[in-house]
């Protein structure tokens, strides 16, 4: 089976066209302005509603997730259908911190235990909840837990040379198993209700517009940092090796490269970026539940990257924003149609537009 036909040429992958770069910078600038415009008086022509700010905050987190997937899939050729699990684990880590911060303000007023534990009749905090009252620890866990899980799954898979669709199915099974596990009440993660009703983060009450703006900028900052990091990796020697792994792994192995280590490190890094996205997502939307682990979420995130154009990084952002914009717009007036459109996107992008939206710009530039 020749993998080369499936992927865009390497040469142009790191050079988004001028149009793309303009789109990217313009888009980020507009995003950065949103919370400011939200502060304008209601009757101003430039006023932006709370809804728009909240929704675009969500999309920023999705875009970080899309970047993580693009790094693994677009460069290293690892199609993970379980990145939603890393995202959700990061979200749960941050959610645990937020739950601990509720303190005695819960419905049952218990000084330490979250409401659902009191409801279950638990009297002590389980050991895996220790330390989550500290923000740095929670943030560390939001990166470390997805990283460790990816390290374990990746190590088991890559050392047995499980690649391609097998890896995809295994990662899908992983997120499915985690979803089943997190739905259980006795896991100590709130069962199918998950965590919600958060009060504050880093000393600021979450229900103020100031806090929302702060979280928004934190997410935007993280997106920029993740983009720069991925770009740096893509342009480094490691990035070249990754592309080589994607296109001809056996040849690279014969040349003496330890492809297992290369794939593992990029898979772990990608999972950590996804975890970071989840950690930023939860305080923004104010809820996390096991539904985030559902295999459908992960594969939807893959389609953002496919639509945008994989192996370009900018395409991941483009795809995440455009598909989610389409989803938000369509589900508001024709919810029945959305799944047809999403399914149609899967079909259309694989058959007609293998290089995604970014590929459209690139082709024009090439000529």
């Amino acid at each position: 089976m020749s993998a080369t036909t499936a992927h865009p040429p390497v040469r142009t992958a790191l050079r988004p066209g001028l149009v793309l770069r303009g789109l990217l910078l313009g888009g980020l600038a507009i995003l950065a302005l949103l919370p400011v415009l939200n502060q304008l008086p209601q009757d101003s022509a430039l006023h932006v509603s709370d809804f728009v700010v909240a929704v675009s905050g969500k999309w920023i987190c999705y875009a970080i997730l899309a970047l993580a997937i693009d790094l693994a899939w677009g460069y290293a050729g690892i199609l993970s259908l379980g990145h939603g699990a890393f995202f959700a684990l990061g979200g749960y880590a941050m959610g645990m911190h937020l739950m601990r911060l509720i303190g005695p303000r819960g419905v049952y007023g218990h000084p330490v235990l979250p409401d659902f534990m009191v409801f279950l009749g638990w009297t002590e905090l389980p050991w895996y909840w220790w330390g989550f009252q500290h923000f740095p620890f929670a943030l560390l866990m939001a990166l470390a837990v997805p990283g460790l899980l990816a390290g374990l799954v990746g190590w088991l898979a890559f050392r047995s040379r499980i690649t391609g669709v097998y890896l995809s199915i295994i990662t899908q099974a992983m997120t499915y198993a985690l979803m089943l596990a997190f739905f259980r009440n006795d896991m100590g993660f709130g069962g199918n209700n998950g965590f919600t009703d958060f009060k504050e983060l880093l000393g600021m009450p979450l229900n103020t517009s100031g806090a929302r703006a702060a979280l928004f900028y934190a997410a935007l900052l993280a997106l920029g940092a993740a983009l720069l990091l991925c770009r740096h990796i893509a342009r480094s020697k490691l990035g070249r090796v990754l592309v080589a792994v994607r296109d001809a792994e056996s040849r690279l192995r014969f040349l003496g490269y330890d492809t297992t280590a290369v794939k593992l490190s990029v898979f772990v890094l990608s999972a950590m970026i996804a975890g970071l996205a989840g950690a930023l997502y939860v305080p923004l939307v104010g809820i996390i539940n096991p539904g985030e682990f559902s295999p459908g979420n992960s594969i939807e995130a893959v389609v953002w990257v496919a639509v945008g154009g994989r192996g370009t990084l900018v395409g991941a952002l483009l795809g995440a924003f455009s598909v989610n914009a389409l989803k938000t717009w369509l589900t508001s007036f024709a919810p029945d149609l959305w799944l047809f459109v999403l399914g149609g996107l899967f079909v259309a992008v694989t058959l007609l537009l293998p290089r995604g939206l970014a590929g459209l710009f690139r082709r024009e530039e090439g000529r």
């Binding site: 199609l79 088991l156 995809s168 199915i169 992983m174 198993a177 596990a181 047809f340 999403l342 079909v347």
Partner: protein
């Protein structure tokens, strides 16, 4: 003791009384009289063995028997009042016939006897069951008598249990030991409960009771193991059906079809449609399920051909794209079915011959429909193997898989074989849907639950090996069901998933790795 003598006396009266059938009315008349007359009448009615006495005495016991001023007896039932003897509608309600404790005691004996001697098997069985629960030493002679007359073995066994339970309450140690022996030879949890109670009550027979309980426990454990094994086989047969189509499309063709679960779903909906189409034709309606099998095969095979020719063939050699694309197709199919049929569950009626349970030796009960599904899965497996081994189509299919270009030069139309193979795999998934409709809710997202499991089966068994798929399906089914009592359903599933991942470490090609030329695929 006096009551016991009365019972014995009345039992002796049975042959004499049964000759005097015409005196039923005369015997029943004193029920309207004094308590003493009532009690005597009840006992004589019980001895008479006339089936008409049963509703009469039941009405008396439940306070539904009424009398008019002239002594005519009435029975109130469901708000209507009828004359007790003729059954004619009564002019109006009468006075409720009152009874005292003596009459009540007589009623219990008489009702028990009438029911135990009833010509209807179900009534006798229910009466034995009732006496097993009420367990009183007073019932011993009655049960012995009934047991001697019983001709149906199943009812006889219930009476034996009831008799043993009654003997357990006897004052006589030898009688108790006989009861303990009978209960200990059974394998019922209820008998175990009775024995435990008796153990707590008296020490004289403790050793016998302990041995009996141990014997029951051993048999219960064995039965539980057998039932777990059956459940495992049943789950395995479902997995086999769901994975078999995938073993053809993924294992043989190398096409990863994430819409495979939706093919199963379409098969289940075809079953619903066939059932509804045949509802108007009574003589055909009973056969709707067998007729659904070819219908589901054709429908899903047609969808499969359209999918392969229209979309998948453009992506050969690009498995990851195929995976994403077919996932999108699955989404579209799911949503289309949801819009056409609604999101709620649809019901498929099981035909009579699939309903109910079957009791195997050792009191192991299995549900008929699951037994049929296991058979069905094996038949489908046999047909699949036969189709690949012995037909022209199977030969061409294997040729194309081994070497497409040489097959093409030999004059095999490879494109057509691809389409047929994919249709074949999809059709098998459709037939799986017919089976799934019998045990699972038919809803638009029915397929999503099967896709991951099916892939696990195929990967575990060894891609490209049908025997591996079968062994894989039954192994996973059995392991899952054996873990469930310990770990619960969810953890068992997770454990199986983790187990497969670890297994692949040792045998990356699955249980039955292909060797030789085919392995290079």
């Amino acid at each position: 003791m006096f009551r016991l003598l009365c019972l014995l006396a009345s039992l002796l009266l049975i042959p004499a009384a049964s000759q005097a059938q015409e005196s039923f009315e005369a015997t029943a008349a004193p029920l309207a009289g004094s308590f003493t007359a009532q009690a005597e009448a009840v006992e004589r009615l019980g001895a008479l063995g006339d089936p008409r006495a049963l509703p009469l005495l039941q009405a008396l016991a439940e306070g539904r028997l009424q009398k008019q001023a002239d002594g005519t007896l009435l029975i109130a039932q469901n708000g209507a009042v009828r004359e007790a003897l003729s059954g004619a509608p009564a002019a109006g309600p009468g006075e409720v016939v009152r009874i005292n404790n003596r009459v009540r005691a007589a009623l219990r004996g008489a009702l028990g006897r009438l029911q135990l001697m009833s010509p209807e098997e179900a009534v006798r069985a229910a009466a034995a069951e009732g006496l097993f629960r009420s367990r009183s030493a007073e019932n011993i002679p009655l049960l012995e008598q009934a047991l001697a007359r019983e001709t149906v073995p199943a009812v006889g066994r219930r009476m034996e249990m009831a008799l043993a339970a009654a003997r357990l309450m006897s004052g006589d140690v030898a009688t108790r030991r006989a009861g303990i022996a009978t209960l200990g030879a059974s394998s019922s949890a209820e008998a175990r409960g009775l024995l435990l109670e008796a153990r707590a009550a008296g020490a004289e027979t403790a050793d016998g009771i302990d041995a009996a309980i141990a014997a029951i426990d051993g048999r219960l454990k064995l039965r539980q193991m057998a039932e777990t094994a059956f459940q495992g086989l049943s789950l395995g047969s479902i997995l086999l059906l769901a994975a078999l189509g995938l073993a053809v499309t993924f294992g043989v063709m190398g096409v990863i079809n994430m819409a495979h679960g939706e093919m199963v779903m379409l098969g289940a909906y075809t079953t619903v449609m066939v059932q509804e189409a045949l509802r108007g034709i009574p003589w055909l309606a009973a056969w709707s399920l067998p007729l659904s099998v070819p219908a589901a095969f054709l429908v899903t095979a047609a969808v499969g051909v359209a999918l392969e020719r229209g979309l998948i063939r453009h992506l050969y050699g690009r498995p990851l794209e195929t995976l994403l694309m077919t996932f999108g197709v699955g989404m579209i199919l799911q949503q289309a079915v949801r819009l056409i049929f609604g999101a709620q569950n649809r019901e498929v009626v099981s035909p009579a011959w699939m309903q109910g349970t079957l009791t195997l030796p050792g009191d192991v009960t299995v549900t008929q429909n699951r037994l049929w599904i296991i058979l069905f899965a094996l038949v489908v497996l046999g047909l699949t193997v036969a189709a690949i081994r012995f037909t022209r189509f199977g030969l061409e299919m294997r040729a194309v898989v081994q070497n497409r270009r040489i097959a093409a030069t030999m004059g095999i139309r490879t494109g057509r074989v691809d389409a047929m193979t994919f249709a074949f795999g999809s059709g098998i998934a459709g037939m799986a849907g017919v089976a799934v409709s019998q045990i699972d809710n038919v809803s638009p997202n029915l397929g999503t639950g099967y896709i991951i499991d099916s892939f696990m089966v195929v990967v575990f068994g060894g891609v490209g090996s049908l025997a591996g798929t079968m062994i894989g399906a039954f192994t996973l089914g059995l392991v899952n069901k054996m873990l469930e009592p310990w770990a619960g359903a969810v953890l068992a599933k997770i454990a199986v998933l983790v187990g497969i991942m670890l297994f692949i470490q040792r045998r990356p090609k699955g249980l039955f790795a292909l060797r030789g030329r085919a392995a290079e695929q």
